[in-house]
Symmetry: C2
Subunit: 280 residues, 2 copies
């Protein structure tokens, strides 16, 4: 892996470039983004140069697609047409079924491996990019066909993912999308609805404490970055919502009854398990 | 204010003693707790000595009740019977209507001012006490009669609250309880129900990211510390739950429709407002 094309040099794409460099990647990194973003990305050392999509992809051993989901879906055809047969195309989209299905139709010349680095920040864009962004985070990889994981180019890419500090979890696109509906999309919707309903509460901002800060942090995310995620994962999110509401109603039916205590206990165990997996 | 009795020397009571000392309080601090807790509290400098309730209260200018809500409610009669007429009784209970109503019945000799320092930690007990716990936090005070706020002993107490770094918000017990139903109790219930429903999700712990950590932090709290809070604030919590569900259903009805975008926008503004009030 000597030549990398990063298509969409924002928080994730820019951080990937910075992290590769810091992990010792000595090859060339070409970015595809607006001229202004490319200028900043070059200044920050995230990419070596900018190019248009066709030229960037034509020279690449690895193409890293880190645009919004709908843009990735639209780009896959053109990316494959311009890629060399030995190229590996991967992506960083937050839902995987829509992208992986499109890749199955469109990626013929290159190989494709869906990916989702589970890292983020409240701020977006190349200015917020950070070589440490993936450190200790999960990087989900979702092959359409598990045989792709045995290819040498995929092995080499995954070595770099480990080198930048991420922990690889391989699972199917459908399993991924159902899991992140619970671990990411449902939490976002709860935080957004909680922050919105504070409008109904007199004196709420005055009586805010650390609990409310934790629970409304995600609510600062704009619809612009959630539209694609929500609309490409609707059925899985409905499953997670239904499960949440069932537990919420069980928890709140009678605060002095045994169900409330039981749900608290399950939640404590579950919160501890999440923390033990992330070694916190 | 020369003599302070802290009844219940746990995280809040112990932190109050430590914070007073660091702010320069030179009087005597007597703690009411188990012998083991008192030993630790003396070692840590949170109290000077232990005593039983009657003796501690008899000598006190300020009585600070920092036991669980149901214990405070039970103690108010005995505290007043043992207090001198010049004594101020205050408390740190997380709901105010039940305690303030009981104080109105039982506190005859001393004066009473309901209080709620909006600070906390995941760990409880004297070992977790911290002189910085109230720094930058809201300290709600809930008088049964606003005239009490003009008394000299209350003024002196509030000066110490400011000296330990807290920001005072005065409001009625009912307004307090409705506000914290939104800012504290509803967030707790959402976090607990979210953590509990992860049991329905295969692969959820493996795909946990920072968003899930934020949103399940509160779920580590045990039912033991929430039972009293929930059962003394049931109607106000139902109001907050109803508001939350209305916004949640509006947000999730159609992810590509205008309602979803609108609720995201309201939530962003609201999250920003909470942060601006807390100067974060």
């Amino acid at each position: 892996m000597q030549n990398v094309a990063i298509v969409g040099v924002g928080l994730i794409g820019g951080s990937f470039g910075l992290a590769l460099r810091r992990a010792g990647f000595g090859g060339r990194i070409v970015g595809v983004s607006s001229p202004k973003t490319i200028r900043t990305a070059i200044e920050r050392g995230a990419v070596d140069e900018g190019a248009d999509l066709a030229r960037a992809v034509a020279g690449a051993d690895l193409v890293f697609l880190s645009s919004p989901i709908s843009v990735i879906v639209d780009q896959l055809g053109a990316v494959d047409e311009n890629a060399r047969p030995g190229t590996l195309i991967t992506d960083a989209g937050s839902t995987k079924a829509a992208i992986c299905q499109k890749a199955q139709e469109k990626v013929r010349r290159a190989a494709f491996l869906g990916g989702h680095p589970m890292a983020g920040k409240e701020r977006s864009g190349i200015a917020a990019a950070d070589a440490d962004l993936f450190q200790g985070r999960v990087w989900a990889v979702c092959p359409n066909d598990e045989n792709v994981l045995r290819e040498a180019r995929v092995g080499e890419f995954l070595e770099w993912v480990r080198a930048i500090g991420a922990r690889i979890e391989a699972l199917s696109p459908a399993d991924h999308d159902q899991a992140v509906a619970f671990t990411s999309h449902l939490p976002q919707l709860l935080s957004t609805a909680l922050a919105a309903c504070l409008r109904d509460a007199d004196k709420a901002p005055e009586l805010a404490g650390p609990a409310l800060l934790d629970m409304t942090r995600l609510a600062s995310s704009p619809y612009a970055i959630w539209k694609d995620i929500l609309s490409t994962n609707d059925p899985a999110i409905r499953v997670a919502m239904k499960s949440f509401l069932r537990h919420f109603f069980e928890l709140t039916r009678d605060f002095e009854g045994p169900d409330t205590e039981n749900v608290f206990q399950i939640a404590q165990d579950s919160a501890a398990q999440v923390r033990s997996v992330l070694s916190i």
